[in-house]
């Protein structure tokens, strides 16, 4: 395996794993306040799935010769990134539904092609993850649907959340093709199979129809069907904002990393105890038994 290919893969898989881990925070923010016990259980299970995805993906990266603790270290020191979408705050319960619908929706559009990517362990992890994510996306849609058909306050909450998350979701497909640095190489290696703009268009086309079912509008006055292109025309997200968020200046970058660092530091004594206990056990048992 050529080194640049291996390193490109590690970078991509690690970034994906980190995104799952950091992504636990914005949704986790609503577990304690979920408005019904059923929704609480569904949300808790979803956030648990994200931790599980993180685990598979770190394991997939390890098959390429890096250790999980190195990758975690790269996350905590800011040397590796995670998806910028998680640097926005979840302000209301409707954000949980919207993340499910739009953010998981965008993730699926991004990730489905990866299920056929050239590196087996990553492709297999992605198959499992995509299955679960489409389940999460349906749940998010259902939350929003309930809100959109609920009281006026619930409906307003849903529309507000969609307004806030729409452009950040579009930005999840990355910079426009004309400006993407890694894309071309990744496509040659087949760890990426479609361009950012192709995937973004696919996502927009999908969302417009679903928004109609929800009875919610998308906050883009220029969104309209273009029969010639056989696609919806739409306003591009603010890529300067995207760059600002990627470079560390989104609303929650500091909060998310600090939260993760604190959890890591506060857990150090527990991990040390587990290691010390394991070492004692190993020393007590006769070798080879």
């Amino acid at each position: 395996m050529p080194d640049p290919y291996r390193l490109g893969l590690i970078r991509q898989i690690a970034q994906h794993a980190h995104s799952e881990i950091i992504g636990m925070q914005p949704e986790g923010n609503w577990i304690s306040r979920a408005p019904s016990l059923k929704r609480k259980a569904i949300l808790l299970a979803k956030v648990q799935d994200e931790a599980g995805h993180g685990l598979y993906l770190y394991a997939a990266a390890e098959t390429l010769g890096v250790s999980r603790s190195d990758l975690v270290d790269q996350l905590l020191t800011g040397r590796q990134k995670y998806s910028s979408i998680f640097n926005y705050p979840t302000l209301t319960w409707a954000d949980v539904g919207t993340i499910g619908w739009l953010v998981d929706g965008a993730a699926i559009v991004n990730q489905v092609p990866l299920c056929r990517c050239s590196y087996g362990p990553y492709a297999r992890a992605m198959i499992r993850i995509c299955k679960e994510e489409s389940f999460h996306q349906r749940q998010g849609f259902e939350i929003l649907h309930t809100l959109a058909h609920g009281t006026p306050a619930q409906r307003a909450m849903a529309q507000d959340a969609v307004n806030r998350w729409w452009y950040p979701s579009l930005a999840m497909f990355g910079p426009p093709d004309t400006a993407s640095t890694h894309s071309e190489q990744s496509m040659t290696w087949k760890i990426k199979r479609f361009s950012n703009d192709e995937l973004r268009q696919r996502f927009v086309d999908m969302c417009v129809q679903q928004a109609t079912v929800l009875g919610l509008s998308l906050p883009d006055p220029d969104l309209r069907w273009n029969a010639e292109r056989d696609h919806y025309d739409f306003t591009q997200p603010d890529f300067h904002e995207l760059m600002r968020v990627i470079s560390g200046d989104g609303p929650c970058n500091r909060q998310r990393l600090e939260h993760r660092r604190r959890a890591h530091e506060e857990g150090a004594w527990v991990r040390e105890a587990a290691a010390a206990y394991a070492a004692k056990r190993a020393a007590r048992e006769p070798a080879g038994v």
């Binding site: 636990m24 925070q25 259980a41 685990l55 857990g267 206990y277 004692k280």
Partner: protein, 232 residues
């Protein structure tokens, strides 16, 4: 009804506290494990509260009971509502609680009420797993580093008085079995079992809680209460 409510509230409050570890556990595997245990507790809580509502016959469902009672109406034991300032306290709580729940559910699974025994039959298997998990960590922490030993012993000492409430009234007969489950784990963990006979706070089953519960419920209920009558 109060009997079923007590069990259901134990599970609900325990789930709420355990879920607070989500995205802040000491390792990723533990995020998964604690979420799993919280989900089990939440699942049992939902079945029990639903059944309690039916027994009451006033049309209250699981959400009406979970979201629209104040702390004076909650019937959980004090143990589950105590704050969890560190992972050792969480594990000591889970050890004490799951050993108790296992015995209670085993007893109920064999008892007369058909509806309860179906819930209990599922829940006792989950409790056995929770007990295994808590035991594993109690041993690791007790027999780990000097710091982890100190923290684990401190957690056990702090929480021990609250275990008396679990065996109030009818359930006194379960305490010897509980002691033998718990003592075996503490011994293996090189921890000292606190002496009995001291302070034994109670009142939870009568709705007399610590000052902590109303804060926990404020957070649990805030959104539901802000939208009276809404569906979610």
């Amino acid at each position: 009804m109060d009997y079923v409510l007590g069990l259901g509230d134990d599970a609900l409050v325990a789930a709420q506290r355990l879920a607070q570890w989500c995205a802040r556990a000491p390792e990723l595997e533990e995020d998964v494990a604690l979420a799993n245990i919280a989900l089990d507790q939440l699942g049992a809580a939902r079945l029990l509260l639903t059944y309690a509502g039916e027994l009451e016959g006033a049309g209250r469902d699981e959400d009406a009971l979970a979201y629209l009672r104040g702390d004076r109406e909650y019937r959980n034991c004090l143990l589950v509502e105590l704050p969890e300032p560190d992972f050792a306290v969480t594990m000591a709580k889970l050890l004490f609680l799951s050993a108790y729940q296992k015995l209670r559910y085993e007893w109920l699974a064999a008892a007369g009420d058909e509806r309860l025994s179906a819930v209990a039959d599922k829940a006792r298997k989950e409790s056995a797993y929770h007990l295994d998990h808590a035991s594993l960590w109690t041993v690791r922490l007790g027999d780990g580093t000097p710091e982890s030993h100190r923290r684990m012993q401190d957690a056990v000492d702090r929480l021990w008085p609250y275990t008396h409430e679990l065996f109030e009234g009818d359930h006194a007969a379960l305490r010897p079995q509980w002691l033998s489950l718990v003592t075996a784990v503490l011994d293996e963990a090189t921890l000292t079992r606190p002496a009995d006979g001291g302070w034994a706070p109670g009142g939870g089953r009568q709705g007399l809680h610590t000052e902590h519960l109303s804060y926990l419920l404020a957070e649990l209920q805030v959104l539901h209460r802000a939208h009276p009558g809404a569906r979610w």
